[in-house]
């Protein structure tokens, strides 16, 4: 890497380079992102986290964003639950107003919070550290993220189960991306066995269809793809499998 500054400023240059690189998307932020995309819309905790940001609140309330809202709806249909915050009026408050969701740009040590002009450094760093180390503890701290009814599972359990489910779907996705049909089908079978009513059921279904096609079973892939498109013709996810529905 060629030096940018004069030799006497090398220390400064190193700090500036570090400042430019010291931004990561934390697991918590990834979950919120997936929830906003409708992938994890069925998860109460992740859904609430996503809906807590001003943009997603607006997104759900805005008629002009029907496409994205329909993604959320589809996810909700699959999971049998819904975004409970979607009916709330849009809020313009910045995401930092809820400590559990201050993770904009977290490093493993959470020190990047200090780069946020608005973030109260100590509190934010502590929260970020918690958020990145354990989503469960974050959930327990945020009062708004507590389950609303006694009949529901504790939020921490839901979140842990979702993490397992997400990991399995990611393995399935990786196998599909690698073109390994048989491995993808094995992951898909495992997913169906472990999460018969999974929150990521639709995503898994799409990946299963792709896995079938990869493994050479195009007729079954076509049959499932047609069924999926009949049920969810406008789903953004459907676009991915339209090519299999011959």
């Amino acid at each position: 890497m060629d030096p940018l500054l004069h030799p006497e400023d090398r220390e400064l240059e190193a700090e500036l380079r570090r400042a430019g690189r010291d931004v990561t998307l934390s697991p918590a932020a990834q979950e919120r992102l997936l929830a906003a995309l409708g992938v994890a819309a069925g998860v109460t905790v992740a859904g609430e986290a996503a809906a807590s940001t001003s943009f997603v609140s607006k997104l759900l309330a805005s008629k002009s964003m029907l496409t994205a809202a329909s993604m959320v709806s589809v996810g909700a249909i699959g999971a049998g639950v819904y975004f409970t915050r979607s009916a709330e009026p849009p809020s313009d408050r910045p995401p930092v107003s809820r400590p559990a969701e201050t993770v904009h740009a977290a490093t493993p040590t959470g020190a990047a919070a200090a780069t946020d002009r608005e973030a109260p450094s100590d509190a934010a760093v502590a929260t970020e550290r918690d958020a990145t180390a354990s989503a469960d503890s974050t959930v327990e701290k945020g009062p708004a993220l507590q389950p609303r009814t006694g009949s529901r599972k504790p939020a921490a359990d839901v979140n842990a189960a979702f993490r397992d489910e997400l990991a399995l779907v990611e393995s399935l996705s990786r196998a599909v991306k690698a073109g390994n049909g048989s491995l993808a089908l094995a992951h898909s079978a495992e997913y169906k066995r472990k999460f018969p009513r999974g929150k990521l059921g639709l995503e898994a279904q799409v990946l299963h269809i792709e896995a079938l096609a990869l493994a050479g079973n195009r007729s079954e892939a076509s049959r499932l793809a047609q069924g999926f498109l009949k049920r969810y013709p406008d789903s953004p996810i459907a676009a991915r499998i339209r090519r299999f529905a011959h």
Binding site: R18, L25, T53, S121
Partner: protein, 165 residues
């Protein structure tokens, strides 16, 4: 795309001038655009698509902030502060502000090339491919951006020295 490129998108947005408080929302905007145009993204070109979307959204975010006059007063001379604060977090914040100040002085075309080379550590050939530019153009922009970066730091240092004298 989220797990593979999420950090790249967040870092790109931040280095393109999106304030930390807007980062979460802007990352979501980038991915919603990507999701809507999934069929248009050529396999293997995901990062290029995400970068272009991020650049567009960052520009929009900067304009919105300017219009709303929500930009907080930046210290034009971050180097004026003592170089070694006892609090490491404060020090990191100052370096970030200094970096923002320098990057904000660059045009978009120089800044794009500069951040991809300096912070993403892409080669000039990779940048040329990602931005769909001729390699010579990338090399030229990078040379100008590096010169501007150095000059801006020198100017800030000179200003800080004068003020302390």
């Amino acid at each position: 795309m989220v797990s593979e490129h999420g950090t790249f998108v967040a870092r790109t947005l931040r280095n393109l001038g999106v304030p930390a408080r807007e980062l979460d929302d802007c990352v979501q905007r980038v991915y919603i655009v990507a999701d809507r145009r999934l069929n248009d993204i050529r396999p293997g070109c995901e990062r290029a698509f995400l970068f272009r979307s991020a650049a567009h959204i960052a520009a929009h975010a900067r304009r919105s902030l300017a219009r709303k006059r929500e930009v907080l007063e930046e210290d034009p001379h971050p180097l004026r502060a003592p170089p070694f604060q006892p609090d490491e977090l404060t020090q990191r914040k100052q370096f970030r502000e200094l970096l923002d100040s320098v990057l904000n002085s660059m045009s978009d075309e120089l800044r794009n090339v500069f951040i991809l080379h300096t912070f993403e550590e892409l080669t000039m050939a990779e940048i040329a491919e990602l931005l769909e530019l001729p390699p010579g153009t990338v090399a030229s922009r990078l040379r100008r951006a590096r010169g501007m970066f150095r000059d801006r730091i020198e100017a800030l240092k000179a200003g800080a020295t004068q003020e302390s004298a």
